[in-house]
């Protein structure tokens, strides 16, 4: 697939390289240095950096502002946009704002329910859902039109992404759901973090059977465990997460002072295995508040140096 | 056997017939206490009447607490019809309790206002 946008991420994927992305959470405040420092930590090890959008409904600096900060530093941001907090006017508006800074990647999400965060009494918007947002962004790019039909002056050139969760229920429609996203105009997906590699491979088999891997770039999501406690927490308390008992046991059987390293090791081993899975186009390494480990993971997994994008 | 003379008996075919309103109206009219006496749980002749009655007593207690009458003035006891001594015991218990709590505050409020 030849690239349709100036996105560096799209270019690397279209050239057939395994792409690497990671993510940063903006600060719970207005300090720009926070984001710049995180970006600098990982910039040579990833092709693009996602900026989360009020993740788990905890109010933070907006993704757009943080993306602009990164762009001004010469980095490649991915604007995450949830439909929870904005109506269609605001979303189109923010996309134009991002485009005005030549930000070329957007990840379309619904967003965690606000009851998880610090504003449980607030409204949620969901004027559009994540698939409709992707459709809208695609139309803004390909037709140069607002959702209302008017022409956009200097249309945005967004490479359009979405999340995919092979582990949420019901499993039987998870491949169909990816097909739906492709039909909506999604061009790349980053999956929920993978611990159950068997189940992921099962999903990928279904995906490949339908030829979806040729229509959408699939980046396998990974999050290294910091501790056995974190493994248990993610297994039991995070919706849509599948952590096999064997993995928790492996963490638990490791002495406490070595657990962090074991978590990194599991992550690296997963990448090695996933490299061999047909249809996997890259990796999305989510090491929230542990960004300093991304370089080690990328290097040890044989993904360093990153290809230069012209 | 004798039960305290201050008790007025109202007979119903099943305590399931007792409505929340019956209990509340009694207090409106100045009763110091209301006691619902039903069959042992699981032995209701009409299946679950005594279970429903208990829930209504609880509801009445809540209302009575809210309006300052005192929810403990309404009580429910369970016994079988052959347990006359048990009936006397409950009757004495509730009479003692109500005596301790004093008269229905509505009566006092009336006389204070007069």
């Amino acid at each position: 697939m030849s690239p349709k946008t100036p996105s560096k991420l799209e270019k690397i994927l279209s050239e057939g390289h395994l792409a690497v992305t990671s993510e940063c959470g903006p600060p719970r405040g207005s300090d720009p240095q926070h984001i710049i420092d995180k970006g600098n930590l990982i910039k040579d090890y990833v092709d693009a950096i996602n900026i989360t959008d009020n993740q788990t409904s905890m109010t933070r600096m907006c993704s757009l502002a943080a993306c602009i900060r990164l762009k001004l530093q010469g980095l490649e941001p991915v604007l995450q946009m949830v439909t929870r907090d904005r109506n269609r006017i605001a979303m189109q508006s923010d996309i134009l704002g991002a485009a005005s800074f030549d930000i070329h990647n957007i990840l379309c999400l619904s967003g965690d329910h606000q009851s998880f965060g610090d504003c449980a009494q607030g409204q949620n918007v969901h004027d559009l859902d994540s698939m409709q947002l992707a459709q809208m962004a695609r139309r803004m790019r390909d037709e140069g039109k607002f959702i209302g039909g008017d022409d956009i002056q200097r249309p945005p050139q967004m490479f359009i992404g979405a999340a995919a969760n092979p582990f949420a229920d019901p499993f039987e429609i998870r491949v169909a759901r990816l097909a739906k996203k492709v039909a909506a105009g999604v061009e790349f997906v980053q999956t929920q973090c993978i611990y159950n590699l068997d189940k992921f491979e099962q999903w990928m088999t279904g995906v490949v059977e339908r030829g979806l891997h040729e229509k959408v770039y699939i980046l396998a999501g990974l999050t290294p465990f910091k501790s056995a406690g974190m493994a248990r927490y993610m297994k039991n308390r995070v919706p849509g997460m599948d952590v096999p008992d064997a993995v928790v046991k492996r963490m638990a059987d490791t002495p406490k002072d070595k657990q962090a390293q074991e978590g990194i090791q599991i992550c690296i081993e997963s990448i090695q295995r996933l490299k061999e899975v047909k249809g996997v186009a890259g990796f999305h390494i989510m090491a929230i508040e542990w960004e300093e480990k991304v370089p080690e993971i990328v290097e040890s997994a044989g993904l360093y140096p990153r290809p230069a994008a012209a | 056997m004798q039960y305290p003379p201050s008790i007025n008996i109202v007979r119903v075919p099943c305590t399931g017939k007792v409505d929340v309103l019956h209990i509340l109206r009694a207090f409106e009219k100045g009763a110091d206490g209301v006691c619902v006496i039903g069959c042992l749980e699981g032995e209701c002749h009409f299946n679950k009447g005594n279970i429903m009655a208990r829930r209504r007593v609880v509801q009445a207690q809540s209302v009575l607490d809210t309006v300052g009458i005192g929810g403990q003035r309404a009580q429910m006891f369970n016994l079988s019809s052959s347990e006359a001594p048990q009936f006397v015991k409950y009757a004495q218990e509730i009479t003692a309790k109500i005596k301790e709590m004093g008269p229905n505050p509505i009566k006092l409020a009336k006389s204070r206002a007069a």
Partner: protein
């Protein structure tokens, strides 16, 4: 039906401070079915208000009337002759009835006695759950009879989201994932292939967002 819940008695007592003559007005329809504002509930509330006032050494007149419903002028007329006797009316009807009463009897204080919650149904006695949000453009034919607007916490049209776990919504284990229900229903109806059809972007102008709504039928107007 419209499902409502009794307001705490304390709240109503507070609203009625200094009133000497109160009418507790029930409604025989929705609020009777969800046991919040029918004749029975009127009786309990009135009794509680009487006891409260007696306990303060005051003599407040508390009357009880239950109308067939409070959302039609004809029924509200039934109390026209007596309404002026009251300082306040506590209406146990849903928010619609309270407002209609206030519009009809603008000189009398009409206070709500219930919290109106949603449009829903009786799953079993004592359990009422939401089913409809009145979006004005019903899509139930497409979703096999399950509403994504009312039953999905994020009102997704192309769900489920990634938080659906074992058929339950991410917000609570007690809430069904609407999209799991829709998938199951489509499967049972032999229509699971429709799942891949993209739902077009919703027109919310007929929803609350478009402003207060009305339905007009000129063919039946007099």
């Amino acid at each position: 039906m419209i499902v409502a819940e009794k307001k705490p008695i304390e709240e109503i007592i507070e609203c009625l401070k200094d009133r000497k003559s109160v009418l507790v007005l029930g409604c025989n329809e929705c609020v009777t079915v969800c046991e919040a504002g029918g004749k029975k509930e009127v009786g309990v509330l009135a009794s509680a208000l009487r006891m409260h006032s007696l306990n303060q050494g005051q003599e407040v007149r508390i009357d009880e009337v239950t109308l067939e419903r409070q959302c039609d002028h004809e029924y509200l007329e039934e109390i026209r002759d007596v309404i002026d006797q009251y300082d306040a009316v506590v209406s146990l009807a849903c928010g619609v009835g309270v407002q209609f009463m206030a519009e009809t009897y603008g000189q009398t204080e009409i206070l709500p006695g219930v919290n109106t919650c949603f449009m829903g149904a009786t799953e079993k006695r004592g359990l009422w759950t939401e089913r409809c949000q009145g979006c004005g453009q019903c899509v139930l034919a497409v979703t096999g009879g399950i509403c994504p607007v009312a039953r999905c916490a994020k009102r997704l049209f192309n769900g489920p989201c990634g938080g659906s776990t074992s058929g339950k919504c991410e917000i609570s284990k007690e809430v069904d994932c609407a999209w799991q229900l829709i998938v199951d229903r489509l499967k049972a109806l032999g229509r699971l292939d429709e799942f891949e059809n993209l739902f077009p972007i919703k027109d919310w102008s007929t929803d609350r967002a478009g402003g207060p709504r009305k339905v007009v039928r000129e063919d039946v107007q007099q």
